[in-house]
Structure formats: C-alpha cells, structure tokens
Symmetry: C2
Subunit: 325 residues, 2 copies
C-alpha cells in the first residue's frame, strides 16, 4: 500500500496534464469523485479535463467545477496526458468512445470489489462505500491540497453512494471522512438539498403513478413496478430522474426483494433489483445475463417486459424458498 | 459550562434512582436519548425507568432497552428519585400525567433553542441537531460508560433528528459523534433499516393516496396534502406511522413551502409546515397559535380542515410575496 502510494505520487508528479474519466450512466460518486480529483490536481498546478461518455446530466448541474466536464471526445488526448479512471468497475463501463482510444488508464481508482485492475496503477478498496472515500484517503495519505469545492464534490459522492449514510459499508471511518470534508468546506444541508430536493414536478407525478401501480406479491415479500414509455410521455418525466423509487417499496418491512422493469426504447427491458439481505439478487440477475452485487443488481435483456416480468417472478419465488416468512 | 458539568455529575452521584422522561408524540430522538441515558445510568449501577405519556409506539419496538419504557404513571415516584427530562422544549410537552405530579425535573437536557430551562439544572444546546448529540457530549465530558446498546439508541436519535445527516445544524462535530457511536457499537445500516425499512403495507397504501391527492399551487411553489379519517380507515394505516410524507413534496425543486392538514378525531385540525429556507413557517404557524422553528413548525387548531386550508394558503401566499420566483 505504502509502495503503491509512492508509485501514485511519482506518476502524478511525472505528468503535467490529466484526463479524469468515469462510468456511463454516471451517478453522484462518479461525477463527485472525478470533478474533485480534477480540482485537487488543478490546485497542484496541473491541467485537467473531466470526460464522461454522457457528458454532464441535468441533475448534477449544481456541482462546483461542472464546467470541467465534457463528453468524451472521439480523438484521444496526447500520449503525455495521464489518464485516470474513477469509480468504474470495468474498462467497458468507461464508454465505447473511450475504449476506442485503445489506451488503458495509467491510474484506476475504485471501490467496486469486482474491479479487475485494468489500469497501469490500481488503487481499489472494495471495502470502501464510495470512490470518493478512496480518493479522500489518497488526499490525506499524500498530503494533497483539497479546496472547498473538491471537498463538496467528494461529500456528494460519499452521501449519494451511501444513500445518506444508510447502506452497509458505512463505517466509523466513513463518518470521519464526512467530518473532515465538512471541516474542509462541504455543507451537508446544501449537498442534501441539491441532491434530494431538486427534482421536477413531472418526476413527482411519475412517482405518484409508480406507487399507485406497484404490485405487492408473494405474501407481500416482493414488490415491483413497471416504467413504460407511455408513463414517461403522460407525465413528462425524463429517464435520467427516476432513480430511488425502489427505496419507497423497500420501506415496507415485509419486502425481501423489490424490483422495477423498464421498457427500453427500441425494444427489450431494463431491470433493477434490490434485496433486503437474505436473497442474492446478483445470482438472479446472472440468470438473465445481468449482474451487480448481492443486494443490488441489474439486467438488460432483449426479452419484452411481460415475458421478463413472468420469468423474474418465478426465479424470485424459487430464491425465497429457503427463507421462512 | 464546566461548572454546570460538575453540577450535573454531583446531581447524578447524589441519586440512586432515576426516571427519564421525554415528550408526547415521541420520535427517534426522544426515545433514543431517553433509553440511552437510562442504559448509561444503569451501567453506573443506578436504578432507572423511562417514562413517556404515550408509552412505546409500535414503530420503535426494535430499540434495544425498549423494555425500560413505560407509560408515565399517575403516581409519581418517591422524592428521592431523580427526574430527567430529555428532548422536550416545554414542561407541558412532557404530558399531562407528568405535569400533574407537580414536580419539575432535576435535570433538563435538550437541543430546542426555545427551551425555557424548566429544570433545576439545565443543559440546553440550541445549536445541536439532536438531543442525542447533547447527551453524547455529556458522556464524553464526564467520562460516563456508554454500552453498545446506548450508542445504538443515541445513533437512532442523531440519524432521525438530522434526517439522515441532511438537515441544517449537521456539522463536522455531528459526523464525529456519529463516528464515535459507530466505534462504540452502533450499526448504521441496521439503524437505517429499522427506521426506514420497517413500515407497513398499509402505510405504503396511504402514502400512495397522499401523493395522488397532493396539491401543487401558487406556481408550484407550495404543495400540500390532507389526511382525513376516511383515508386512515380505507387504507388501514395508523396515525403514528405517517411522518415524512412531506419530504416527498419537498423533493420538488420549486417548492418553497410544503404542508399537511390532518383532521383531529373529535374536531379540529393538526398542521405540519416545512420551508425550503426563505419563508419563515414559524411566523405563519404563530398566527394560528402554533410554533416551532423557522424551517419546520406545527399548528393544532380548533378550526375545521377546510377553513384552516383556505386561511393558511392566504398567509403562505402573503409570506411568499417578498421572494421572486
């Protein structure tokens, strides 16, 4: 570890320009960590850009340093530019435009346990609840500068990836890091307001329809909903603002598995699955070519939504068999 | 402050038996703080009971140490029993059964800025986000024992009263306290699951009806809903499980004020008001005999629900005048 930190320091010192990349369908930890790292490197006098295949999505326009984020360009930067991947479990998830560059990242920083270490140098802490915590540890260990805007971005990553400090892997150290970030200038209430009080009336309408149409089945042990193109059209909500409805289903104490099915424009179905703890939804997703973690997994399938719904319910029922009510 | 701590230590040392009391309509901070303090005093070899006018409500049955909680009895304990009030802004909110004892608490620990100091000794920190944080500071300052079950109860108070570390008054110190509580044995994910994933299917049904019937008015700057006896009856939900629906309304970025009106069985109306920041809902509540904080306030009125709805909307509209859209 100490060796590795030395290696990272040397690698940073050896470059003047950097591009920081994160995964497709970016979330708060992807943006927060990549922008924060860019701000830290800028404070060291480096030139830095932040690339993401999807650019900057509407719901993260509040991030300080957002102007650093660009869509990953087709033309790679010069060889002398150091490439850093953050929060991205596989090379593929950095996006097709990036992989077409045919150049692996020099530094790969992540908290996903399955990350195979596709970088030249790899800093992966699978026990950490967020990549922003991994980056904060690096900042502390190397004594790097951490401007208030970087602290705020890291706080956003930590807060969103822990579900406001509610998920497993939230440890005493996570709270220590949160405390340090607040001391360095992150405002917890402002962060929460930006992330959790910034949705549209259209999203509220869609949420209302989702709740009204949610199905509670198998003795209220499983709950799910469907998102159809028709629901988007009727409510005017956008696909990038529909995270977290599953949380509302998971709030019911009897629910072991909650999932949602979404029609993909052009055919096929996207699924998100969540488990309370006993059922391994990663194993269920794997049967349909999907994957993720034990408690949270996803599927992209060519099956139409009705077919997948029926098949999934059968698999979930089988997975519930070993567990008494 | 140091003097006061010495006074508290002396007062604790001077008693062998204690009753810890908290406010009517108890929440996570009321229960968490009172049970935790009882467990701390027990660890010191004291005899302790926890009294609440409402006893222990269904949704807090998961708290370790819950067996200490009893409904406040009509007969007061002997004079030698030390009375401690926690998290309770006024003597009245300790409940009619307690006030009938005609004996003020020897120790009054709270974080509500308006607490007038009705105890013999008063430890009130109006900047603290939760009474559990005030009690934790006391534990540290006096070097009191803090068993894991006490740490868990304090964590519940801290987590619930800060809305999962999202509300104003959540500071670097709040996260330090959370970290210390986790080190002492509190499990953040278990705490979150107990509080946020333990509701009933009936509550889900009521929530669904609330969202579907919510009104967005005054250019989507105000949102509100009504809870009627009929809605409770139809869904089978209980009055003690309907907190937090306002959060869902506040999630919409344009909402400056969110409120709910609830019919009181036997007549009258109860109101909860929340502000995003610019409107002082305490001032609005005060016009109807209610009160609270700038960002969160309540009213109990003899007005019927329709009358109060109309009057409130008028007052809120006036309060919004100074603020541009």
């Amino acid at each position: 570890m100490k060796n590795q930190l030395g290696q990272i320091k040397e690698w940073i010192d050896g470059h003047q320009a950097f591009a920081v990349l994160s995964h497709i369908r970016p979330d708060g930890d992807a943006y927060g960590t990549s922008i924060a790292l860019a701000l830290v490197l800028r404070a060291l006098g480096k030139e830095v850009v932040v690339y993401n295949q999807d650019g900057l999505t509407r719901n993260y326009l509040f991030l300080p340093g957002k102007e650093l984020v660009q869509k990953t360009p087709a033309t790679p930067p010069p060889e002398s530019t150091g490439l850093i991947a953050v929060d991205t479990s596989t090379l593929e998830r950095l996006g097709a435009t990036f992989t077409a560059w045919g150049r692996p990242p020099g530094l790969n920083i992540d908290h996903h346990p399955g990350n195979p270490g596709y970088g030249t140098i790899n800093l992966i802490d699978g026990d950490s609840p967020a990549s922003s915590q991994v980056v904060y540890e690096l900042i502390e260990a190397l004594g790097l500068p951490c401007p208030p805007e970087a602290a705020f971005n890291l706080y956003i990553g930590l807060m969103t990836d822990t579900g406001s400090f509610r998920f497993r892997q939230t440890t005493a150290r996570t709270f220590e890091v949160a405390s340090a970030l607040v001391t360095r200038g992150a405002d917890p209430a402002a962060a929460a307001q930006s992330c959790f009080q910034s949705s549209s009336a259209q999203r509220f309408q869609l949420q209302s329809e989702v709740l009204a149409s949610s199905q509670f089945v198998l003795g209220n042990r499983v709950a799910y909903y469907r998102l159809t193109s028709e629901m988007y059209q009727r409510t005017g909500a956008q696909a990038d603002e529909v995270e977290n409805f599953l949380e509302l289903l998971q709030a019911v104490s009897t629910i072991e598995v909650a999932f949602m099915l979404e029609e993909i424009a052009g055919g096929g179905t996207r699924v998100s699955l969540r488990s309370r703890g006993r059922v391994d939804v990663n194993a269920i997703a794997a049967k349909f070519g999907g994957g993720g973690h034990r408690l949270a997994a996803g599927i992209r399938s060519t099956f139409p939504i009705d077919r997948l719904e029926a098949d999934l319910l059968r698999e979930i029922e089988a997975a519930l068999q070993p567990f008494p009510v």
